[in-house]
Each structure stands twice: as C-alpha cells, then as structure tokens.
C-alpha cells in the first residue's frame, strides 16, 4: 500500500503494525462483546421485544411503510428533476429577469432546513396533508440541489460542442435543448441517483408530521411493544440496505455513463440530507 503519509514499511515496522493490529482487534472485539453482554443483561434479546419483526401483520405494516417511503422519495425526486432543470437552465439564462429569480429560489431552498419547510407546509397557511407536505418539501429542497447539478452538468459539456452548434446556425434554445441538455443528462444521472439516497433518508422527517412511512410505522410498533431499541435497529437496517443498493446503482451508472471523469455530485451536496454547500462557493 503506497500512500502520501508514510513510506512503505520495512520488516520492523511491519512487525510493530502486526502487534498494533492484534491489540486493537482484541480491544474492539472485547468492546463489542461487552456491549452485547450488556444488552443481554438488560434483557434486550428477549423474544417478546423482537416478536413484531417475525409476526406477519407487523412485517406487512413495515413493508407498507417501506413502499410509502420509497413512493414519497421517488415522487419527490421526479418533481425535483423537473424543477431542477427549469431552475438550473434559468440560472444560466442570459436574461436577468430569469436568472435572478432562479438564483434567489435556489439559494433560499438550499439554505433553509427541510424540517422547517415541512412544518411550514403542514401547519402554515397552506395546511397540506402530511404526505404532501413531506413530498413538496423534499421536492423544493432537492429541486434546488438538482438545479445546481443541472448547471454543473450543462457547464461540463465541452465548449466546442456549443460553438459547433452555433456555427451550424442553431438558435440559443436549440443549442440548449438539442446539444447541451442531452449531454448534461448523461453526466447527471449518477448525481440524481445519489440525490435519491438523500431524499430517501429525508423522508424519515415525515415522523414529525405523522406522514406514512417507515419511521411512523416504527413509532406505532414501539409504542405498542415498548421495544424502542429493537425497532430503531430494524429501521436502520432497512434504510442501510436500501441506500447501499442505491449506492451500487449510482456507481454502476457512473462507470457506465460517465467513465473516469469526476462525478459532479460532490461540490453540490455532501449527502447528509437537507444539507447544502456554501452558497457562493459554487
């Protein structure tokens, strides 16, 4: 292993590293064993606490919750892609009347916490249903992020393509629709899939407004059985599996569509959910 931090180790260093490996390995295993034993002592492995996750009715409820969560995330991302395209192209427009409002909308929804937005949509003058307040909130936030991704994608199209199109006598709109956007979409698809992961994690905020979804189902289970820890573990496992599948799909799309070029997702959203970059840094 070659790294910038240290030289390739010699025999004595390797022996020392082997010792550290054994010591830390033993330490970690001991810590894990102690934790499991601690949980066992507290009776956290009792069958009654895990029972709902092997009972068909509850498994079905969780499955329904997962489907709701996925449906909300997919719906939000579909709307967000459309909004993102419009805002992203708007930000690139030559007309100030288009550029400035697009910029304002994007910056605003990127800087406001999603939960604040959802609460406003649910309990504010609009009084949307719990389901739609989550979907619309996700749509506005992800639309703002995808606008930046669209902008980056369009700007990533080689300059020569645009110049060639103008040289052929195409109009501005034609260049955007026929030359820039189709090539941008190809680069953007991995970023859009990554944004699905963020949206999927953020649907958990439906918990606060009692929107259908995994976390709300989870709450009703732990209220009934008093098994908060077990429910939280099962929910985390479900989220982690879904997100790892999406990550694999995004990586496959990246290899397939973009190749060795850098993905454009990183400067825009660290993937933390309801996050965003430093406005003005892009």
């Amino acid at each position: 292993m070659s790294t910038v931090l240290f030289d390739t180790p010699g025999p004595r260093t390797r022996a020392r590293h082997r010792l550290y490996t054994i010591l830390t390995g033993v330490g970690l295993v001991a810590l894990l064993a102690w934790f499991v034993w601690y949980l066992y002592e507290h009776g956290e492995f009792a069958y009654e606490l895990w029972e709902p996750f092997v009972t068909p009715e509850y498994v079905e409820a969780l499955w329904q919750g997962l489907l709701d969560t996925l449906a909300m995330a997919v719906l939000a991302i579909l709307f967000a892609v459309v909004a993102g395209f419009l805002l992203g192209v708007g930000k690139l427009s030559e007309h100030r009347l288009l550029r400035w409002p697009s910029w304002l909308v994007v910056e605003f929804f990127r800087a406001v916490p999603l939960l604040l937005l959802i609460i406003f949509l649910r309990f504010g003058p609009l009084s949307l249903s719990p389901y739609w307040s989550v979907v619309v909130g996700l749509m506005l936030y992800n639309g703002a992020v995808l606008a930046e991704i669209t902008r980056a994608g369009v700007l990533a199209v080689p300059r020569g393509q645009v110049e060639a199109a103008y040289a052929l006598g195409m109009r501005k709109t034609q260049v955007m629709l026929a030359i820039q956007l189709p090539q941008a979409v190809k680069v953007m698809i991995p970023a859009i899939i990554s944004q699905c992961i963020v949206a999927l994690k953020d649907t958990s905020l439906g918990f606060y407004v009692l929107a259908p979804g995994l976390t709300t189902v989870g709450r009703s289970i732990w209220i009934e059985f008093g098994n908060q820890l077990q429910t939280a573990l099962v929910l985390s496992a479900i989220y982690i599996v879904c997100n790892l599948i999406l990550t694999a799909v995004a990586m496959w799309a990246q290899r397939r569509l973009v190749g060795e070029r850098k993905p454009i997702v990183h400067p825009v959203d660290p993937g933390m959910g309801q996050g965003g970059p430093a406005p003005g840094s892009s």
Partner: protein
C-alpha cells in the same frame, strides 16, 4: 408578526440554542471525524476496517434515527437517563456528522499528490518535517470547502432536535405557527435566521480559503 415582536426573547433564546447546538456539535464532529479519518488512512488494517464500517453504517442511516437511538432507545438500557437535552442533541448530531467529516478530511489527504511526499523524503526531510511543511498544509487547503459544506448541512440538521423537544429555532417556529396568514412572515423570519448562520460559515470558509491561497 406581532407575536414574534412581543416574544422576541423566546426567538433569541431559540437562536442561541441553535448556535450552541451547532458549535458544540461542530467541535465534537470535527474532533471525532478527524480521528476516524486518521484511522481510515493509517497503516493498521483493523482500525481501517472499523472506521470504514462506522462510516458506511452511519452515512446510510437517517439522522432522525440517530435521535431515536439517543433520545428514545438509550434510556431503555439505562443510558443518558438524566443527561440534558442539549447534550443528547449534540451526541446525536455529532455521531452522524463525524462520518461525513471523516470522508471530507480523507478526500483532502488523498488530494495531495504522492510525488510531494516522495520528493520531500528524497531531499532528506524527516517524517515530522514532511508532515508539517509539505503534506498537511496542502491537505488542509483541500479540506476547507468540503468540510464547510458538511458544517453547513450540520447546522441545518440541528433542526431535527425540534422533533425531540428541544426548543431551538425550528421547535420555536412550530410554537408560533397557528394556521394564520402571519405564518408566512414567521416562516421567513426563522428562515432568515438560519440563512444568517449558513452565510457566516460560508464566509468563514471563503476567508480561510483566500488566506491560504495567498500563502501558497
């Protein structure tokens, strides 16, 4: 809007609580995230594996579930029973954010070209000199923008503490909303307070970047 002006103490308290949450979580996540990053780039395979597992698991779990673990599940096994809410919020946010800080720092270290360290060793610099005058200054510079993004996202993520009863900005906005036309003004006020925080971090990052770029 009159409500807000009459009870501006409550708004300012909420703002202060959000700032406390953000600063404390920021410090904790930076410390823990840097340790994780050191484990991930270090030579000891067990620690590398442990840090990678931690990052993979935490990054793919929603922050809301971190709060569920700390606020709802942990008291069941006798942990964090009498802990103040602020501290519990800081723990939940830091556990989550440190995984992202780790990735940002690691990408910064990996951004330093291998040839830089090799050249430093070739001209006879010791390990300490290589680190302090060649590798780390370049790594810090590469780390600033992604870490700033993570800290901004973290500041917004502190809003989830409202779900578990902390009266920070988001919780306070819920308290003021009452299905009236005023709600839009209230929402915009609280949104602006968040935007102020975000802009402060952003300005700090831009300042640091500019300063270090000049030093190059």
């Amino acid at each position: 809007m009159d409500d807000l002006l009459d009870q501006r103490d409550l708004v300012l308290q909420a703002f202060w609580l959000t700032i406390q949450l953000a600063v404390l979580s920021g410090v904790c996540s930076l410390a823990f995230g840097t340790v994780l990053a050191a484990m991930r780039v270090g030579p000891i395979s067990v620690l590398r594996g442990a840090a990678t597992t931690y990052v993979t698991l935490v990054r793919n779990t929603p922050l809301l579930l971190m709060f569920v673990f700390v606020f709802v599940a942990a008291p069941n096994i006798g942990w964090f029973v009498g802990t103040p809410f602020l501290l519990k919020g800081v723990i939940a946010v830091s556990v989550y954010t440190s995984a992202f800080i780790c990735e940002a720092v690691r990408s910064g270290v990996n951004a330093v070209p291998l040839g830089q360290a090799e050249a430093a060793r070739a001209i006879g610099l010791t390990f300490g000199q290589t680190m302090t005058s060649i590798v780390l200054p370049q790594a810090f510079r590469a780390v600033v923008p992604p870490v700033a993004s993570v800290l901004i996202a973290m500041t917004k993520n502190t809003s989830i503490a409202a779900v578990f009863g902390l009266m920070e900005l988001t919780g306070r906005m819920r308290y003021f909303t009452n299905n009236s036309a005023d709600d839009t003004a209230i929402f915009l006020t609280f949104a602006v307070l968040y935007i102020v925080l975000v802009e402060l971090i952003s300005a700090g990052a831009i300042g640091l970047e500019r300063r270090w770029r000049a030093a190059r």
